[in-house]
């Protein structure tokens, strides 16, 4: 038995292949957080007065709030005054074409497998690339504009589409929502903005790629997606960071607005640096993601969370309109000393609303994985339905899996189902595969990928392949 455990440990102590850092000329603010910091950020971005006021209100709210401590997480105290809240690669202020992107930034993204040259891009995907605090480039802007789709950095949207931003910013996640959302609202630096006009099916996948490069910086990005009536969009975000010994804070806010009969599919492949096997370093990933689904609209969250030292994240759907649909598909892997407390909230407000939750937690090494999910059916939500399935897979005996479902039902017509299972990768399964000629690593990877199948099936094709590879890499000992 101990032999097998040792082998599992080797398999899960994979090295982190995105751990390199790039030497970029960076404009970085001194550490510390005061009202002046908020003004500095707003000033750097040449923001209108209303946005500065909004930030200051959020900052005041944040100061009066305490860090949440209800999650099953052990968090080293975060010194918010020692972080820098602004870091931007210095480059030419205006980019006329992709060729104007700093070659070192281009190289960095090439190394990450995200080519920024449109002609080099294989798949039909538009990319917004964000390094530290700012968006460095967005591809395929013209193609998208022809369809009426706006896809740009958040800062650009503030300048070019202020009315849209002002109307929707904070409409789904209010500034006082929680400690980290308030912090983000005060100091957010950049992020992506998408607007899909009524009746438009976005002609390509939209994708934002986040990269933390600088040391001792927090990354606070803000994403806002607005899908007008009868529109459709599929959006993907990917994240990596260099390998550093100190913990870095990533506190993002994502707001989705799905108007009548629209559909937003939001997929995340999160692979922030997880820290080493002793728990040194790694990203603190404290993220608030929420969508509001209007009448007959559908919001679908799919996440593959393999990175970060700590993940605190509950992508949620407010099922506001009648017959709206919310979905949450999640794979969360915690190995080494990683901790994940993740799940979703499905708030049923409208009648005949349906939500489904498929959560797959994988724990290895000393990883701790908690599913925490709320299904709330308000009095108004006649005939609401929810189906929840939480499966946990344990690799080894030092890790943990926890399932904490909260169910609050105020309407007796609701149908709420919850299924949960916990299993281990059996010696029987491994031996069966090995008897058929597979190495133990291949067998483990195949079994774990099979466990995640239902979630991977929800990802856009090219990202499903990526997710599968990522999971294998995270479980293997040989990639560096």
């Amino acid at each position: 038995m101990s032999e097998t455990l040792r082998e599992i440990k080797e398999l899960t102590d994979a090295s982190y292949e995105y751990g390199f850092s790039t030497d970029l000329d960076t404009d970085i603010a001194p550490p510390g957080l005061t009202e002046d910091t908020v003004r500095l950020i707003s000033g750097k971005k040449d923001e209108p007065e209303w946005l500065l006021d909004w930030r200051l209100k959020a900052f005041a709210a944040w100061k009066s709030m305490d860090e949440p401590d209800w999650a099953k997480l052990e968090i080293h105290p975060i010194d918010y005054q020692s972080l820098s809240y602004w870091a931007a690669p210095t480059q030419k202020p205006v980019l006329d074409s992709m060729d104007d992107v700093d070659p070192e930034i281009r190289d960095m993204f090439d190394k990450l497998g995200i080519p920024l040259h449109e002609q080099k891009m294989l798949s039909n995907v538009a990319v917004d690339a964000i390094v530290d605090s700012v968006s460095v480039t967005t591809t395929f802007k013209m193609t998208l504009a022809a369809a009426g789709v706006i896809f740009c950095s958040f800062s650009e949207a503030v300048q070019d589409h202020p009315d849209l931003v002002r109307e929707h910013l904070g409409s789904v996640v209010p500034v006082r929502d929680n400690f980290f959302a308030a912090l983000n609202s005060a100091v957010f630096s950049d992020g992506s903005f998408c607007y899909i006009p009524a009746g438009v099916r976005c002609p390509m996948e939209l994708s934002t790629y986040f990269r933390i490069n600088s040391q001792n910086t927090g990354q606070f990005e803000r994403t806002l997606i607005i899908a007008e009536d009868d529109s459709h969009v599929s959006y993907l975000e990917g994240c990596t960071a260099p390998q550093r010994d100190e913990n870095q804070l990533h506190a993002a806010v994502v707001e989705l607005v799905a108007k009548d009969r629209s559909e937003i599919k939001y997929s995340t492949v999160q692979n922030w640096y997880p820290g080493d096997e002793n728990g040194v370093g790694g990203i603190y990933n404290f993220v608030t993601k929420r969508g509001r689904a209007h009448t007959d609209a559908k919001i679908s969250w799919t996440q593959v969370e393999t990175g970060s030292a700590i993940t605190w994240k509950y992508p949620s759907v407010i099922l506001q309109g009648d017959r709206s649909v919310g979905e949450f598909y999640s794979v969360a892997l915690s190995s080494k000393r990683q901790q994940a407390d993740t799940g979703t909230k499905m708030i049923h407000v409208g009648a005949d609303t349906t939500s489904s939750i498929i959560s797959k937690g994988i724990s290895a090494g000393h990883g701790q994985n908690t599913y925490r999910g709320l299904v709330k059916v308000l009095r108004s939500a006649q005939n609401a339905r929810n189906y929840t399935q939480c499966d946990s897979l344990l690799l080894g005996s030092e890790c943990g899996a926890h399932t904490i479902p909260y169910i609050e039902v105020k309407n007796p017509s609701a149908q709420v189902e919850h299924e949960a299972s916990t299993s281990t990768v059996g010696e029987d399964q491994l031996f069966y595969c090995r008897q058929r000629g597979m190495t133990e690593e291949d067998a483990m990877s195949m079994i774990v990928n099979g466990f995640c199948r239902e979630v991977f099936d929800e990802l856009p094709m090219e990202f499903a392949v990526e997710a599968q590879r990522l999971l294998s890499v995270s479980l293997e000992g040989s990639v560096g």
């Binding site: 032999e3 097998t4 059996g426 010696e427 029987d428 399964q429 031996f431 069966y432 595969c433 090995r434 008897q435 058929r436 000629g437 597979m438 190495t439 133990e440 291949d442 195949m446 079994i447 990928n449 099979g450 466990f451 995640c452 199948r453 239902e454």
Partner: protein, 261 residues
Amino acid sequence: MLHVENLTASIGGTPILNGLDLDVGSGGVHAIMGPNGSGKSTFAHALAGRDGYEIDGRATLDGVDLLDMEPEARAAAGVFVGFQYPVEIPGVNNMYFLRTALNSVRRARGETEIGARDFLAVAQEAMDLVEMKEDFLHRAVNAGFSGGEKKRNEILQMAVMEPRLAVLDETDSGLDIDALRIVASGVNALRRPERSMIVITHYQRLLDYIKPDFVHVLVDGRIVESGDHTLALHLDDHGYADFVNHDLDDAPERPLSGAAR
């Protein structure tokens, strides 16, 4: 071909195989019969290299020592075990599993991997053999399969893997008469001059369909009698009593008892 000499196996100090000797020639089909707890499945596991047993003695395939090899290396050397209880692997497509298995042994042998299209032809032929429909390939490995489907899947895998030595562990258990016929005819169709088979079974019934060249009786971890297929008929009429000098129900717990007649 397969040469087993004085093979012993125990778990946590409890002996299960107590000096098993067996020679299986090329193309030979040998049946191993024996009461519950006599060590039949342990023998299959010992040949395949399952963890958890203390093993001693010799087992060679074509002169190559199996006992020092990892399970996957034994598979590459041509050892295939059809399991009594095939495990389920949820979410893993049966066809993907089969192709990964085949390509794993091909890689280990230094052969080229087989592409998706060529593989489909191989799989199709194997499917016909066990009378399986196409959708069988697209289901998850053994997940939700009936007992009969699981056993047919084992034979399907054997057909694809083309082993040098196939050990079929109670392939007949849990089968109705139709499934038994399908499994047995599949096995018969896979008999080759260069392939040896060991068929482990409780009942003579299977041997009506698969005619063995030799029948061996395994009791208390060693072979106590060998003969031709008439030995199986004798066992069917008289049970194992002739070969056991103690109460059968005690068999697993009893120490070595010198069980040969």
